[in-house]
């Protein structure tokens, strides 16, 4: 097989992946900004540690089974946390938002841990839901450039069954 055949075959990649690659741009953080963030976190830990320690002695954790305390995988498909469940992209993409779905909030791209707060996730974008269909959400990228990339598509996210 020749390389040009491979190049041609790659040209037939799945539409959703082609659109996704063009739309995705990881936020660039400068080196000094990272160090400022690290310093700020250290200050926060030093300040809050005694308070947290005293609280741990007096209070049991609130229903710990409902929280997902694990690292966010930036390589995983788009996913976010809401109401005790994880919604994850499974590959379906649509050109228009289905009827009945409306904007309910934006994913906060926390980048390191999944602390169990609503709308924490691994991509910057808007979430749309339909009150009658709790297990399906739709996602649109926050920084989609319609002029350069065409109309913004919507990713279908499914609620995990775990």
């Amino acid at each position: 097989m020749k390389s040009h055949e491979l190049l041609d075959a790659i040209g037939e990649a799945q539409d959703m992946y082609v659109l996704d690659a063009k739309a995705s741009k990881k936020k660039h953080t400068s080196v000094w900004a990272k160090w400022v963030a690290v310093a700020a976190c250290l200050c926060l830990i030093v300040t809050l540690f005694p308070i947290m320690q005293s609280m741990m002695w007096t209070e049991q954790p609130h229903n710990p089974t409902e929280t997902l305390d694990k690292p966010i995988d930036m390589n995983a498909p788009v996913h976010f946390y809401l109401d005790g469940k994880v919604y994850c992209y499974h590959g379906e993409i649509t050109k228009a938002l289905p009827e009945g779905y409306e904007y309910i909030g934006e994913i906060k791209n926390v980048g390191d841990t999944f602390g169990g707060k609503d709308f924490e996730g691994n991509a910057d974008g808007k979430i749309y839901m339909n009150g009658a269909v709790a297990d399906i959400a739709y996602f649109s990228w926050a920084e989609w450039n319609e002029t350069a990339d065409g109309p913004a598509p919507f990713l279908m996210l499914e609620r995990s069954t775990e």
Partner: protein, 185 residues
């Protein structure tokens, strides 16, 4: 205008379909063509060829996502133009030029066996992409679908160029393993 309306214009053989396509997706197609050809005039001509190709393929096609339908044609047309241009630059390579010219006579027909092999290779690429981690898949496609420079990809992701290079090296290794496993190499 909605994509579906534009597709309807093509089906009705209304020439405004091309103007609407240009207004909505002209810059998208141009960015793909320019990344491949690195020449404004060549990119412009490729985009015009894309519109003609779309005019000739809708109908019978009715694309569900017009953006990628256009993008794929722009990419193919631009790569073809790049191949012809490269052959010309090599100079005196009349055999290559003649073959390219004759290609137009046979490209309409389908060699069933070759087409089946090509389809199998596409299916392999699809499976490969399905199993790649998100960031690797995005960077692989930016490099080998959109043919963007490594420097540009690194800048978009806030990575160093060496990180992107090593990531691409790793992904190519995975692709080679899959191609070996499926008997292509």
């Amino acid at each position: 205008m909605e994509d579906q309306q534009i597709v309807d214009l093509y089906w009705a053989r209304e020439e405004t379909a091309i103007h609407e396509t240009e207004a909505k997706y002209g810059s998208y197609c141009h960015s793909i063509a320019y990344a491949i050809l690195q020449d404004k005039q060549d990119a412009e001509e490729s985009v015009n060829d894309t519109y003609l190709d779309v005019w000739n393929t809708i109908p019978p096609n009715r694309p569900s996502i017009l953006a990628t339908f256009l993008g794929k044609i722009t990419r193919r047309v631009s790569i073809d133009r790049w191949r012809i241009r490269s052959a010309k630059k090599r100079g005196g390579d009349e055999i290559t030029l003649a073959l390219d010219e004759l290609e137009q006579c046979v490209s309409g027909g389908h060699d069933v066996e070759l087409q089946a092999q090509h389809d199998e290779l596409i299916a392999t690429i699809h499976r490969f992409l399905d199993h790649l981690p998100l960031t690797e898949r995005r960077i692989f496609l930016l490099r080998y679908w959109y043919l963007e420079p490594i420097q540009s990809i690194a800048s978009q992701y806030g990575f160093t160029q060496s990180k992107v290079t090593s990531m691409l090296h790793r992904v190519r290794g995975k692709l080679r393993k899959q191609l070996e496993k499926e008997g292509y190499v």
